[in-house]
Amino acid sequence: MTEKLDAERLTWMYTQMVRIREFEERVKRTFEEHPGVIRGHTHLADGAEASIVGSIATMRPGDQLMATYRCHGYPIALGTDTKKIMAEIYGRKDGLCGGYGGSMHLADPERGFLGTSGIVGQSIPQATGAGWAAQIRKEGQVVLCFFGDGASKQGAFHESLNLASLWKLPVVYVMENNNYNVSTRSDQEDANAAAGEPLSTKAKAYSMPGVTVDGGDPVAVHETVGEAVDRARSGDGPTLVESKVYRLSAHGNLIAPPGVPLHYPEHEAITTFGNREEYEAALRGDPVPRFRMRLVEEDTLDPGRADQILRDAREEMEAAVKYALDAALPEPEAALNHVYA
């Protein structure tokens, strides 16, 4: 049965949400404060914290997850050292993956985080394979597979859901629907969305449950994903959970050749569609202050304690930035390590 969330657990969930938000804020600020330190492309989880934490709170030791290039939030909630994550994003030798992967390719297998793909939808079959491994082990392990709404237009998604349902694999497919594929709205490229139906409708084609949940509410996500996890654990197969979130930053930082300062543009609702009101409404519904308000109103969390959680998170992320800035870059010839296992 899905765990009942007591005050301590709810406070833990709020703390993880704040830590993810503060981490992502520092990644974003790095482009202004330390130009050139972050290279390539980063993708932030701000706005998806409730969905990430509500999902991960259902995991038991031994469970595993795979994710996409928008991957900073998961290891933070799993307990990976934020210093190591920031150092990886800064390309440092002491980063989580030694500077080999960067922002898009975090992995922490000891905590169950098997990795990501930078190619849309391609980690979905991989998570499905990890689900087969869990099924063989018969230890009740479950695999959470995180991806975006755009990935549900990939063949990899459809092939994987068919197989997972056919073989009753213990996988929970968590689609974080942020309604944008880079700068394209879902109703421009998704038949269900265009027809006014939820994207979880796709589950029907594969004879598995498909549910839609408010991804801004970590308790609702926990309950919905928790039911799917229970179902998977008991051998009844996979579930597709559509978790509706609003990405509060642009898809990623500016794409530009070296020499052009990188920064985070405004959200595509504004830059592509000129719809500032949509974005501001999303800000008013920001899941982090929304959850704080709820916990405080329910007397679950003392406002002073909430303030302290925020201060602690800011201090932690300040230390992560400092650690990452001070950390050494890899030796150039280390580029040839790890080509073969």
């Binding site: 500077g99 297998p109 098997l114 190619i119 979905i124 499905t128 092939e159 390590n337 080509v339 296992a341």
Partner: protein, 326 residues
Amino acid sequence: MARELPYIAAINEAIHLEMARDDTVLFYGQDVAPSDDDDFVKAFSRDRVRVSPISETAEIGMAVGLALAGYRPVVELLMAEFMLVAMNQVVNEAPRLHLMSGGRVKVPLVLKAGYGFTAGWAGQHTGSIYNMFCGIPGLKVALPSTAADAKGLMATAIRDDNPVCYLLHYLLVLEHGDVPEGEYLVPFGKAVVRREGGDVTIVATGWTVGRALAAAETLAGEGIAAEVIDPRTLNPLDTATILASVEKTGRVVLVDQGTPHGAFSNVIAAGIADQGFSSLKAPVKQVTALDATVAYSEPMEAYVLPNEEKIAGAVRQVLGSAPVAA
């Protein structure tokens, strides 16, 4: 003790032995064991042997996930061209994850597929496309040409901690050869000299090894002693054995069933130019398939393929005993 087995049976024997030896080895794919009477199913259960839908991206992607989670999947892809459907998983996922994680994860898996089925299968099932899987750091490529190697290279592929494209040649599946019983491993990156000779070095792979040996026999009748080398794996490539032979003979013919610009022989030629140039007494000559999609009808199919006559002709050219073709 060795006994005669067909190439295809030698492959299955290797998979069976490795599955018996190691519980983490799995075997699945399209048309693998649809019946519960299958020997693999009876021996290893449906946990480890499954028939999959026609979903190459899922099949290969799942192999990556199984490998990340501690298993050693062998995926039956049937035809190498079917891997093209899932090329991202083959070249951009499986071989990259170990490095991108800084060595924190590994991806041991075997992609088993046939190639070069020039037996009237027309344009989409006859390609010798192994070169498309070479040059990918992290991805190993094995091309067995004998029944014994078919067994030994499969066993090595399964035990390797990296993704391996194990590409069997469809024209060889019923060829018999002596195959050692029991555990038998052929190391990767170790070429074999199939025939010794001091006048010219012929490097050939897969089905073309047999054609090169036939050409060498013909040439022996003309007093030409050809050395025939079979690299057996293209990644890793045993450059040292090839260079040592070139140093001895000074003349080289490279045979490849791929098309001229898509043939792995180009890579071998470049290696010889870079590291063995001073040994050369004549330009390196390549005998590849001609630059065309393979046609269905037999005369056209045969026309584009390397064969014994083309190989022997190339040898005569590099020895200066035949005019260079216009």
